[in-house]
C-alpha cells in the first residue's frame, strides 16, 4: 500500500464523508505507527489516508461522574500523563504505557491500537477488563459496541466501510473497584506481548470480591473476556486458592499459537501467571481505593 492521497479532515462529518466516497482503498490514520509500517511493506497497492488528528474531539478526553470519554486518537504519551485518569484506571494507563517506546507513544493512540485489532494489542484486554465501549459513527449514524465484541479476528473488527471510531467510553469505577494490566515480553521494553492480562476487581468493605472481569491477550485470535475465570474470584477474598483457580481457568480458555514470540505451551502457562499477578495488583489497588 503506497500512500497516494492524504487527507486531514477538520470534523468527524468530513472524515465520514471522505471514508465513504473513495474508489481506492481508504484507511483512517491516528498515530500511524502501524499504518505507515504496513504501507511500506507492500508498496504496490495505492492507499488513501484519512488523518484524524486534526479533529479536536478525536484528540481530547473528559472525565466526570459518568466516567471517561476518550478521543481515540490522543497519543499514549499524553494519555499516560493524565493523573486523574490514572487514579481511576491505572491498568489502562499501564497498558497504554507499554505500547512501544517513548517515541512510539508520542504517536500511537489507544484508538489506533484498538482499530489495528492485533491479537497482541496491549490496550484491548485492559479496555475489556474495565468494560469499555466503542462509540462508532458512520454515514448511517452512531452505534455502541463493547470492546470485547469490537474485535472480530486477527486485524479485523466490526466496523463497516465508511465507519470510524469516535469515542471510547468507560464507566467511572466505584470505590473498591480498580484494574491492573500486565504483559509478558522477553526483554523489558520494545517487544510485542507474548501474553497479556487485564483484570478489574470490585471489593466490598469486607474485602470480598463482588465483581470481576478478566481479559487475556495474545493467546487467541482476539483478546478474550474470560467470564469463568472472573467467576472464580467473585465471592472470595481473592485468596491464593481462588486467584490460582482464576489463573488456571484463564490458561485453559487460551487458544494460542506457536510463533516467533512464543509457543502454545509457554503462552498458555504465562497467561495464567499474568492473571494471577495482575489480580493481586488490582486487589491491592481496590483495597486502597476503599
Amino acid at each position: 500500500m503506497a500512500v497516494v492521497d492524504y487527507n486531514a479532515p477538520q470534523s468527524v462529518q468530513e472524515a465520514v464523508a471522505l471514508l465513504s466516497g473513495s474508489d481506492i482503498k481508504t484507511k483512517v490514520m491516528a498515530g500511524g505507527t502501524d499504518l505507515i509500517i504496513q504501507s511500506k511493506s507492500q508498496a504496490v497497492e495505492p492507499l488513501r489516508v484519512v488523518d484524524l488528528k486534526h479533529i479536536a474531539e478525536m484528540m481530547s478526553y473528559s472525565l466526570d461522574d459518568g466516567g471517561l470519554s476518550l478521543g481515540p486518537c490522543m497519543c499514549c504519551a499524553e494519555f499516560t500523563a493524565l493523573h486523574d485518569v490514572e487514579m481511576l484506571y491505572p491498568g489502562l494507563v499501564e497498558a497504554a504505557y507499554l505500547i512501544g517506546s517513548t517515541q512510539v507513544q508520542g504517536r500511537a493512540s489507544i484508538g489506533g491500537n484498538l482499530c489495528n485489532s492485533s491479537p497482541a494489542a496491549d490496550t484491548i484486554p485492559a479496555l475489556i477488563a474495565i468494560g469499555a465501549k466503542c462509540l462508532i459513527v458512520g454515514a448511517g449514524g452512531e452505534r455502541t459496541v463493547a470492546v470485547e465484541d469490537f474485535v472480530t479476528g486477527v486485524g479485523r473488527n466490526c466496523m463497516q466501510p465508511g465507519e470510524l471510531l469516535q469515542r471510547i467510553l468507560v464507566a467511572r469505577p466505584a470505590p473498591g473497584s480498580r484494574d491492573a494490566y500486565l504483559r509478558f515480553i522477553p526483554r523489558t521494553e520494545m517487544d510485542i506481548a507474548v501474553a497479556g492480562a487485564g483484570v478489574s476487581v470490585t471489593l466490598d468493605s469486607q474485602g470480598v470480591c463482588t465483581a470481576a472481569r478478566i481479559a487475556i491477550g495474545a493467546v487467541a485470535q482476539t483478546a478474550l473476556l474470560v467470564a469463568s475465570a472472573a467467576d472464580a474470584l467473585v465471592g472470595t477474598k481473592l485468596d491464593e486458592a481462588s486467584v490460582a483457580k482464576a489463573a488456571a481457568v484463564a490458561s485453559a480458555a487460551a487458544s494460542p499459537i506457536t510463533d516467533r514470540r512464543g509457543t502454545i505451551e509457554f503462552r498458555r502457562h504465562i497467561v495464567g501467571v499474568l492473571v494471577k499477578r495482575a489480580t493481586l495488583i488490582a486487589k491491592e489497588r481496590a483495597q486502597a481505593s476503599l
Binding site: 500512500v3 492524504y6 505507515i36 509500517i37 511500506k40 499524553e78 517515541q103 504517536r107
Partner: protein, 159 residues
C-alpha cells in the same frame, strides 16, 4: 504522483518543501532537505536513530508522513546546541565517551533532551526506560546513562 507543497517549521525556522504523500518525515529531512543528522536504522520505529520532536513531543521521523509536518513545529538534532557551543547534553556525551560509532548519538541526544525537559531529575531506571527505544549496539548503555544523569544534574545546577 503529484507532489504536495508543505509549509512547516523546523528548528524554529519556517521551511517549505515538496513531497509525495508516501514519503515519511525521515525521507523528507534526509533526502529533500539534506538534513542528514537524523539517521535511519530500521524504518519501523524500533531503533530510535531518527528521533525528532513534533510539536515538542518525541517521536520517530520514520513513523510520521512528511505531509503531516504541515503547520507543525519539528525539532531535529540540527536544532540542538548552537554553531559554536554544544548543549550540556552533547558535552556530557563527549565527556563520558557515551558514543563509539556515533550513529545512535543524534537520536539519543534528541531523546535525552526530551527526557530532561519532562523529568529534570530522572532516576537511573527512569532514564533507562525512557531511552529504551534508542538502540545502541556499541556501548552497552553504561556510559550513555552516566552522561544522561550527569547532564541532568548539571542542568539542574545551572537552572
Amino acid at each position: 504522483m503529484a507532489k504536495l507543497h508543505i509549509t512547516t517549521s523546523i528548528n524554529g525556522e519556517a521551511t517549505e518543501f515538496l513531497c509525495e504523500p508516501h514519503e515519511t518525515l525521515l525521507d523528507v529531512l534526509r533526502n529533500d532537505l539534506q538534513m542528514t543528522g537524523t539517521k535511519e536504522g530500521c524504518g519501523s520505529g524500533d531503533c530510535g536513530a531518527c528521533s525528532v520532536t513534533v510539536d515538542g513531543r518525541l517521536t520517530c521521523a520514520c513513523l510520521v508522513l512528511g505531509v503531516e509536518a504541515a503547520g507543525r513545529e519539528i525539532g531535529t538534532i540540527e536544532g540542538i546546541g548552537s554553531s559554536d557551543k554544544l548543549s550540556v547534553i552533547q558535552e556530557k556525551f563527549l565527556e563520558h565517551a557515551a558514543l563509539q560509532c556515533g550513529i545512535c548519538t543524534p537520536g539519543l541526544v534528541v531523546s535525552t533532551q526530551a527526557l530532561l525537559e519532562q523529568n529534570p531529575n530522572p532516576t537511573e531506571a527512569e532514564a533507562r526506560y525512557f531511552l529504551a527505544g534508542n538502540l545502541c549496539r556499541c556501548t552497552g548503555y553504561d556510559k550513555i546513562i552516566r552522561a544522561v544523569l550527569d547532564a541532568a544534574a548539571t542542568m539542574r545546577g545551572a537552572a
